[in-house]
């Protein structure tokens, strides 16, 4: 619902910006992946400061929304972070602009710091229900997951494989709320974009490999997915210019300093 209100507000703003001033301003709407959203906002801000005639709006919604809005034309650029794009994304033009690790996170109070892929699978399937089974304290595990439309979730489940998420799992609808939930609950485990890690949560090693830029670039860390920018047909005009900017050394540098792994 809030997303719809958001898109209404955007629609109203668009109408205002088109009708309000004589000089026509080009508007680009981006929507989708909440993992890439903060970085897209940063890139858009930088791009707009050097191109005052372009207005870029960035919305969240999840990767499924990114694919849908790009298909329907509601957004000129859809953002999706998926290991495999769904079949309906076939007709879209895609550009990989960054790679992003998925960090498995627990509360800093939790002594567990390394889990194997099998242990992760068992935890999210609800087979392992207590931290003491994986070397932690005697507390029940609170599994925190994303909603089904999330790219982070589908990438996570595709890489870990054979996940039927336990029914006891708490469901949060963005990377940010996952972080809050895990930061507030000593027994929680969740996953989120590597770029959104901070000191309030602890990223744990997966199969002995820490979730760091270094390990991701070397290809040692297994939970990595590409971030796509999707457009209906080959990008043109200002949309193309913006995507080119994101892929340029400048844009990739911004992506790198913000904590993502550049595509080039």
């Amino acid at each position: 619902m809030k997303r719809q209100i958001g898109s209404w507000v955007v629609a109203c703003l668009l109408v205002l910006s088109v009708s309000g001033c004589g000089r026509s301003k080009t508007s680009i709407t981006m929507a989708g992946s909440t993992a890439f959203q903060p970085f897209a906002e940063k890139l858009a801000e930088l791009y707009m400061s050097s191109h005052p005639d372009v207005n870029i709006t960035v919305q969240g919604g999840g990767s499924a929304v990114g694919v849908q809005t790009a298909l329907s034309g509601a957004a000129q650029i859809g953002m999706a972070d998926l290991v495999e794009l769904p079949p309906e994304a076939q007709p879209l033009a895609k550009a990989v602009v960054a790679n992003d690790g998925i960090a498995l996170v627990v509360n800093p109070a939790n002594p567990v710091s390394d889990l194997s892929t099998e242990q992760i699978r068992d935890i999210f399937n609800g087979k392992t229900r207590n931290w003491k089974e994986v070397g932690g304290p005697d507390h029940e595990i609170t599994v925190v997951s994303r909603e089904a439309g999330s790219g982070t979730r589908s990438s996570f489940e595709q890489i870990i494989k054979e996940i039927t998420l336990t029914r006891d799992s708490i469901v949060q609808d963005s990377n940010g709320t996952i972080r809050e939930t895990v930061a507030n609950d000593a027994n929680a485990i969740g996953y989120l974009s590597h770029g959104l890690l901070n000191e309030r949560i602890k990223a744990i090693d997966v199969g002995g490999r820490p979730c760091t830029v270094d390990e991701i670039v070397k290809g040692n860390y297994s939970l990595v997915r590409p971030i796509y920018l999707l457009t209906k047909g080959e990008p043109q005009g200002d949309v193309k210019a913006f995507i080119d900017y994101v892929l340029s050394p400048d844009g990739q540098q911004v992506i790198k300093t913000s904590g993502l792994i550049p595509a080039k």
């Binding site: 719809q4 929304v65 439309g149 029914r167 006891d168 708490i170 507030n184």
Partner: protein
């Protein structure tokens, strides 16, 4: 000069008055058009009473959500109704009028606080408290019930105070004159006379609790399952619509509209119940 004659103004007012009703009709029409075909296709029992909910694989049972909604609402009533009615009795019977004139609007101010703020307080204060003292994840049926119980207080208190205030003073005087104490007067005479209004206030509060979305999403944890204890995480019907609307397509989207139909019908029933209870009181007087 006369830009708008008597007739013109009348027509404009008529049009504005009907625009609200038109809005309601359009919403109802839209929801039913999108949702009813789905319900007929799947079958109402399959839809309402199946706990097989996996929209990605074409399974749309909403039974866990129905049960969760009922529990959350009942929980909210357990918290909100006694507090609200007790507060209303206190405000009308035991507090001097000038104090009530300050306190009642203050309570009604509670209704103006956006639900995200309630949700935020729930996440930051209530959920950690529950986790520390009762166990579980904190984001739970209990947290949702308490938050909703507080959210319905203004509805329950303001309608109940009106109902209790409407009881003629002669009732109280008669009772006191017969030797009843103040408390006996309140619970044997005043509450009996105001009963229908109080019940109506509780039903309206119930409608608000069932329909609340944002605060519930934030504090209930949103796990799709039938709760076994108040500390379990639950997902209500409203939360399910809001969480899944963003990415649902095709049948899944229709299923969400059908969920909307269920909510719409439930709230309509509750509201008409409240209206009929209120009407009874008027007739009796």
């Amino acid at each position: 000069m006369k830009l708008l004659g008597e007739k013109g103004v009348q027509r404009i007012l008529l049009a504005t008055a009907f625009s609200a009703i038109c809005g309601l009709l359009l919403i109802a029409l839209f929801i039913f058009m999108e949702g009813l075909p789905f319900i007929f296709k799947i079958g109402i029992r399959q839809f309402l009473l199946s706990s097989d909910g996996d929209p990605a694989n074409g399974k749309f049972g909403i039974y866990p959500m129905v049960v969760s909604s009922i529990w959350v609402t009942l929980g909210a009533m357990l918290v909100g109704a006694p507090l609200g009615v007790a507060g209303a009795i206190f405000l009308t019977e035991f507090v001097p009028k000038p104090v009530m004139r300050v306190v009642k609007p203050t309570i009604e101010l509670l209704a103006g606080i956006p639900s995200v703020v309630y949700g935020f307080i729930g996440v930051m204060v209530l959920a950690p408290f529950i986790r520390a003292h009762f166990g579980g994840a904190g984001l739970s049926l209990l947290a949702a019930s308490i938050i909703l119980g507080i959210m319905i207080l203004p509805t329950v208190i303001s309608i109940s105070t009106d109902a209790i205030g409407a009881v003629p003073n002669s009732f109280r005087e008669g009772s006191l004159a017969l030797g009843a104490t103040r408390w006996q007067t309140v619970h044997m005479v005043v509450l009996k006379a105001a009963r229908s209004g109080i019940i109506a206030s509780i039903i309206l509060g119930m409608g608000r609790a069932i329909g609340e979305t944002m605060a519930v999403i934030m504090v209930a944890g949103n796990a799709v399952k039938i709760p076994h204890s108040p500390l379990d995480s639950v997902r209500t019907l409203t939360a399910n619509i809001a969480l899944e609307m963003g990415y649902a397509t095709g049948m899944h989207r229709q299923a969400l509209f059908a969920t909307g139909v269920v909510l719409f019908v439930v709230i309509m029933i509750l509201n008409s119940l409240a209206a009929s209870v209120m009407k009874k009181r008027v007739v009796r007087k």
